[in-house]
């Protein structure tokens, strides 16, 4: 009974996904289990599908009757609530409406007046969440984009583990869930992208389990009048953050790691670093 490394690649949630699993044979059914889970979550929380949970939630904005949510979505919202508290209001799943003002392909900055209008519709504390019941003020939107990909990496990891896989990893465009180390007990070496030369690694991180998430100013950005504007937007000002070039966190789950990297980016270099240190996160933070 010897294990061999098999890989499987597909596209999901707008990016590449790769599964690296040690199996006795190339068992397509095992890979399919994990891929199905990613597709289930993509369909459930997509902003673009009319019948998704996200669309149903956003359709009831301004309606006093609100909406009752399923157990999984309720747990995600409870998590978002804790993340909002722990980040002092910076990690906010209501901030997705800012994309209406920011088009990173346009190379044009939005008008402050437009941002001011959108900021009125941002703020986790403005909605009424009493699990499982949610009411959303008019014009507000939820966007699970900052949570669901990380959650999917964890969910796929859990499903594969339950299917008997003990050694392998799940990589959803840099959101990584680790099932277990290589069969000989050695850790996975996870490359941390160099923000200045994004095809090279600036460091490698040894990981036996848990999840790793990375965030950087190189992912989506535009340069206007010589200044760099990245896609991570402060929900309080509506403007892109600066100070942190890249942040990576290794935590017990990819979801927690993802929340931590985003929060560190939003806080900026000095505050982000001390938040990660005081919070007890295993991290790597590179300043701009």
């Amino acid at each position: 009974m010897s294990l061999k490394l098999f890989t499987h690649m597909f596209k999901v949630m707008g990016g590449p996904a790769e599964l690296q699993l040690y199996l006795q044979n190339n068992d397509a059914a095992v890979f399919q289990l994990a891929e199905n889970e990613a597709r289930r979550l993509e369909n459930k929380y997509s902003r673009y599908l009319n019948n998704s949970v996200t669309s149903n939630i956003n359709a009831c904005a301004g309606k006093s009757e609100g909406i009752d949510l399923d157990k999984e979505t309720a747990a995600l919202l409870n998590y978002a609530d804790i993340a909002w508290q722990q980040s002092d209001g910076l990690f906010d799943i209501t901030s997705g409406v800012l994309r209406k003002a920011w088009d990173f392909k346009s190379n044009q900055l939005p008008k402050q007046k437009q941002l001011n209008e959108l900021l009125k519709n941002i703020g986790w504390d403005k909605l009424n969440w009493n699990a499982p019941h949610l009411t959303l003020p008019a014009n507000m939107e939820l966007d699970f984009g900052g949570i669901v990909k990380e959650y999917a990496a964890d969910a796929m990891t859990a499903i594969l583990r339950n299917a008997g896989v003990q050694h392998g990893l799940v990589d959803l465009a840099g959101d990584i869930g680790i099932i277990g180390p290589h069969p000989d007990g050695t850790p996975w070496k996870i490359g941390i992208r160099n923000p200045e030369k994004t095809q090279t690694a600036i460091a490698t991180l040894d990981a036996y389990n848990g999840g790793i998430a990375s965030s950087g100013n190189y992912e989506r950005f535009m340069i206007v009048n010589g200044s760099r504007y990245c896609h991570i937007l402060n929900p309080k000002t509506g403007w892109p953050v600066n100070g942190v070039a890249a942040a990576s966190v290794h935590a017990s789950t990819c979801m927690v790691a993802g929340t931590a990297t985003t929060t560190a980016m939003l806080l900026g270099a000095a505050k982000g670093r001390s938040w990660l240190e005081e919070g007890g996160f295993n991290h790597l933070l590179l300043e701009e």
């Binding site: 722990q86 499903i159 927690v256 996160f281």
Partner: protein, 390 residues
């Protein structure tokens, strides 16, 4: 909706606790082991010699026991695990056969064997435990046998555990039974009972409650009935009632401190039986993590007990109680033990070494002891071992 940040918790702990409530982390059989674990322990238990002034006749040596333990835990499929335990003990030395009044009026020990010709004995214990992990519960069966040349015990039990309240609360119940057969050596020569039987039935319940991310408390209650031949066939004139009803109540508290990266364990146990022995045990241990792979565990334990209703320091002519024993384990005394344990873990391997020093005395008893038993033991136990996961 709570809006205030809870400062007594790190962001990591708060987010992790919240993430764990998600369905992906709630899949069934999550508690079933997924790895094989082999554990080995080797211990030496060595009792201090008795001072010659406390011995009327026989050896001043006491027991020295070498103990080897091997355990194997293996997952079988997704929802089932099997655990096998094997233990072998090699015992040598001498033990008190009884007591008599010494020249100063204090009791003295009558020890088995002259020096160098003490008891040599082996004990082997094998047991198997199977556990089925269901959705939010687990249930297990145990079967085991313990064999010595003059003693054989067969034991079996059923246990059941259910988790609820988001896995923050767990309730356990277990019942067990042991059937023991005694066949003392040299029975005819010394007028000992030639064969006898003893039966033990026990029921226990437990409740574990997670108080916070870093604190847990456990309560336990158990009732046990022994019946049959409960006397010690090797002790002179030892005659005990044929039933013994015992109850214990335990409280265990575990608290982890992020700032010191250590866990505190506080344990209390109350014990009482209808032979009128009551005891209290207070335990404290500090599990200090050093880096991610070393743990150092200093511990302290205090024990105090009252004497059995029929215990006498030595037999006197005027004793009207039909029962009699001068076993030091039924005498009034207290004990203090201190231990130090070290564990070093790698990814799939860990090894451990520990030392424990135990001293018992009438002076350590919570209640004043008029006549201290001369046979109270002091011992040192040293253990080394390793665990491998694969």
């Amino acid at each position: 909706m709570k809006k205030s940040k809870q400062n007594n918790q790190t962001a990591l702990a708060a987010l992790t606790a919240s993430a764990m409530a998600l369905p992906a982390f709630q899949t069934q059989a999550a508690t079933a082991p997924t790895e094989n674990v082999v554990s080995y322990r080797s211990s030496n238990y060595s009792e201090d010699n008795v001072p010659a002034s406390s011995v009327a006749t026989g050896s001043t040596d006491r027991y020295d026991i070498d103990i080897q333990q091997l355990s194997l835990l293996a997952p079988v499929g997704k929802n089932f695990s099997l655990k096998f335990d094997a233990l072998t003990e090699k015992l040598s030395g001498a033990s008190p056969l009884g007591t008599q009044q010494g020249p100063d009026g204090k009791p003295q020990l009558v020890m088995s064997g002259a020096s160098g010709t003490g008891i040599k004995e082996d004990r082997d214990d094998y047991s198997a435990h199977g556990t089925y992990y269901g959705d939010g519960y687990s249930t297990g069966l145990t079967y085991g046998q313990s064999t010595e040349n003059d003693y054989k015990a067969t034991y079996y039990g059923v246990d059941w555990e259910v988790e609820f309240n988001n896995k923050n609360t767990a309730f356990q119940i277990a019942v067990s039974q042991s059937d023991d057969k005694l066949s003392p050596t040299d029975a005819v020569l010394y007028g000992r009972v030639q064969s006898a039987e003893k039966e033990t039935q026990s029921i226990s319940i437990g409740l574990s409650q997670v108080i916070s991310k870093t604190k847990i408390i456990q309560f336990g209650l158990s009732a046990t009935e022994d019946s049959g031949y409960l006397s010690d066939p090797y002790k002179t004139s030892d005659l005990r009632p044929s039933t013994r009803n015992r109850v214990t109540a335990t409280t265990r508290y575990r608290s982890f401190s992020n700032s010191s990266n250590a866990a505190m364990h506080l344990d209390y146990r109350y014990y009482s039986d209808d032979w009128e022995v009551t005891s209290h045990t207070l335990g404290f241990a500090w599990h200090q993590n050093m880096g991610s792979s070393f743990v150092l565990i200093p511990s302290l334990r205090y024990y105090t007990q009252t004497e059995a209703s029929f215990y006498e320091p030595y037999q006197t002519a005027g004793n009207t109680n039909p029962y009699y024993s001068s076993d030091y384990r039924l005498s009034p005394y207290g004990a203090i033990s201190a231990g130090l344990k070290f564990v070093h873990s790698f990814q799939h391997f860990s090894y451990t070494a520990s030392i424990e020093r135990y001293e018992s005395s009438g002076d350590y008893s919570f209640d004043k002891v008029a006549v201290e038993h001369p046979g109270l033991v002091n011992f040192t136990r040293i253990t080394i071992g390793f665990d491998v996961k694969f």
